[in-house]
């Protein structure tokens, strides 16, 4: 058993249905399986255990994902945004193996030993016909399926290992087979080196939902493709949704075919969700929380929750609109204090997760404890009904005078101020309090920002301990390629002065 089983089942159940591409002229499930088998034959004739891809979303990605499984190779999508030296180091860790490069990819010169590069077109040509060469030997359930370099917001990228049994457990445990209607189509815009780009392919194939790929994201292309391809489903990371909402507001364009929108991969400002809910009333919203190391989603805030909490007058219910929802049925979530003890509902700590889909493993070793629990390094709390609230990365939580402060809570308040376009709240060393709260603000266009007014704004809405002691102004915040603020860089930038 390996992830190719999912495609084989879709082929048995709906072989003629379009799997990938346009409704007319796309590739069927049977066609996709044939291409993946040919890809496996080609991979079997190549040296090395790894099949890396340096590309945006293109047909090469699903072909290599399933082809590698059928050939017992490990699929390793690599970010095309890495600087040359970093890219060379990442590829060096993947050797020996092949690298499929998209048209825009800049390859390091020389390539690391053991890496053979091919152009995307060469792979697609090879996949068009059976190789007739070496016979591929498929991956076993416990073999690694996918290696993903976790983007991280601090330190060196680590290669997370996802095994076939974990990815299959995730899909079988969370997706109903061929549950998609024949007119449903999903737009994949998360990059292939992000877990959401991989899980979107696996879940859509198993659900029987046609996949349309957006090679590289920008809001205008996304909206155009939704309308041209009659897209019904999409998944977005936070900066994508913010930019789409801005674009829809600015242009007046709409996306009438869209019915279902999931978002995740980082903290989403509550204001963005509220604007999106008002703008797209015909759309079901799902907040999905997950990590690369957990084979994607482990908790969801469902569409009915969004509607109920958005329209509620009860502050407790209303707050849940900013939660990550509840654990999937096949997943257990716990909150623990720094000593490893379980905490009560409402008390913050570190988020721990357990389940068959949880990998918690990197190329240099497994980080699960003996009972299968994985420490996410995310801070958060569960409320009395099991709704999970995330406070950011554990390393980003501000500890001021013994009190744990969540940057996200303060950021949400500041974002509601008309003079604030974007904001990151960070903790900087403080002689008296241990850490002080510092707000790094991008002022809204044309509106003069006043640091003191922003401090008053927070003090009036939250406790005084949460009020920034400093407000800094910048033209833009540094983000990584999947929309996470690089707080480490802000701490370096503002940590020196006082």
């Amino acid at each position: 058993m390996n992830i190719a089983l999912l495609l084989e089942m879709a082929t048995d159940g709906a072989g003629d249905r379009v799997a990938l591409g346009s409704h007319s002229g796309g590739t069927s499930y049977a066609g996709l399986l044939r291409l993946a088998r040919n890809t496996a034959g080609w991979l079997a004739s190549q040296d090395g255990e790894r099949a890396a891809v340096l590309d945006g979303n293109s047909p090469a990605v699903p072909l290599l994902l399933f082809g590698a499984a059928l050939a017992g190779r490990q699929f390793a999508p690599v970010s095309y945004r890495l600087a040359s030296a970093q890219l060379r180091a990442v590829l060096g860790r993947l050797a020996p193996g092949v690298l499929i490069a998209g048209p825009g990819a800049a390859l390091p010169e020389p390539l690391p030993d053991g890496i053979t590069a091919w152009r995307r077109e060469q792979l697609l040509a090879a996949a068009a016909n059976p190789s007739g060469g070496a016979v591929p030997s498929p991956a076993a359930p416990d073999d690694p399926a996918v290696l993903l370099f976790t983007s991280g917001t601090s330190g060196e990228p680590k290669a997370a290992v996802l095994r076939h049994r974990q990815l299959v457990a995730y899909i079988i445990g969370s997706v109903e087979f061929l549950s998609a209607g024949p007119r449903e189509a999903t737009l994949v815009s998360a990059p292939p080196y992000h877990i959401a780009g991989i899980s979107a392919i696996l879940s859509s194939v198993y659900a029987g939902r046609r996949i349309v790929q957006l090679e590289a994201f920008d809001p205008e292309s996304w909206v155009r493709l939704v309308n041209n391809e009659h897209i019904t489903h999409a998944m977005l990371v936070p900066t994508m949704l913010t930019r789409i909402v801005d674009y829809l507001v600015a242009t007046g364009e709409r996306v009438p075919s869209l019915r279902h929108l999931s978002y995740g991969g980082g903290q989403m400002p509550v204001q963005t969700i509220e604007t999106a809910l008002r703008l797209l009333r015909h759309v079901d919203f799902v907040n999905a929380y997950g990590l690369t190391e957990t084979s994607s989603t482990i908790a969801v805030l469902e569409p009915a929750d969004h509607r109920r909490f958005f329209s509620s007058d009860d502050p407790g219910e209303r707050r849940r609109l900013g939660s990550a929802g509840r654990a999937l049925p096949a997943v257990q979530i716990e909150i623990r204090d720094p000593d490893g003890a379980l905490v009560k509902p409402g008390v913050a700590g570190e988020v721990f997760v357990r389940g068959e889909q949880v990998a918690g493993e990197y190329l240099d070793g497994n980080r699960q404890d003996g009972d299968g629990w994985f420490a996410t390094r995310d801070a958060g709390h569960l409320d009395e009904d099991g709704y999970l609230f995330l406070h950011g990365r554990l390393d980003d939580v501000i500890v001021r005078g013994g009190e744990n402060l969540s940057p996200g809570e303060i950021e949400d308040v500041l974002l509601a101020h008309p003079a604030v376009r974007d904001v990151a709240v960070i903790g900087l060393p403080d002689a008296q309090w241990g850490e002080q709260v510092v707000a790094v603000v991008v002022p809204a266009d044309g509106v003069a920002a006043d640091g003191t007014a922003l401090q008053h704004w927070v003090r009036d809405r939250l406790r005084s301990s949460r009020t920034p002691s400093r407000v800094e102004f910048v033209p833009a915040l540094p983000y990584n390629e999947t929309g996470k603020v690089l707080r480490r860089r802000l701490r370096e930038q503002f940590g020196g002065a006082s």
Binding site: M9, G290, S296, P303
Partner: protein, 108 residues
């Protein structure tokens, strides 16, 4: 029902019927080895050849459905049907039940 043919059903292991086209994968292992039959005959490991000329027991021929999950509460066994066939799945003589479809929203 004797359990001389009880087998160790590891999660992820794949099996096929000896008497119809059905194929299954173990999603959740039973607490102890158990006799698993489809169409009245013990299952075979996936990839093994079927004996020629056999058919499901007429009383155990309601069929299996591709992509449906089957469970036996007594043993804790849960299966996924990866290929449809004519036989009925039984666990230690009990008919396995189809689990209701999940109502989870698409999240990726």
């Amino acid at each position: 029902m004797h359990d001389a043919h009880a087998i160790d059903l590891k999660p992820g292991s794949r099996w096929r019927s000896a008497v119809c086209e059905s194929e299954i994968i173990v999603v959740r292992a039973p607490a102890a080895p158990v006799l698993l039959c489809i169409g009245g005959a013990p299952v075979l490991e996936a990839g093994r050849d079927q004996p020629a000329g056999r058919a499901p027991d007429g009383a155990l021929a309601e069929g299996t459905l591709l992509g449906k999950r089957y469970a036996d509460e007594t043993s804790g066994l849960e299966l996924l049907c990866t290929r449809s066939g004519a036989g009925t799945i039984t666990v230690a003589g009990r008919r396995a039940t189809i689990l209701a479809p999940r109502k989870l929203p698409a999240s990726d």
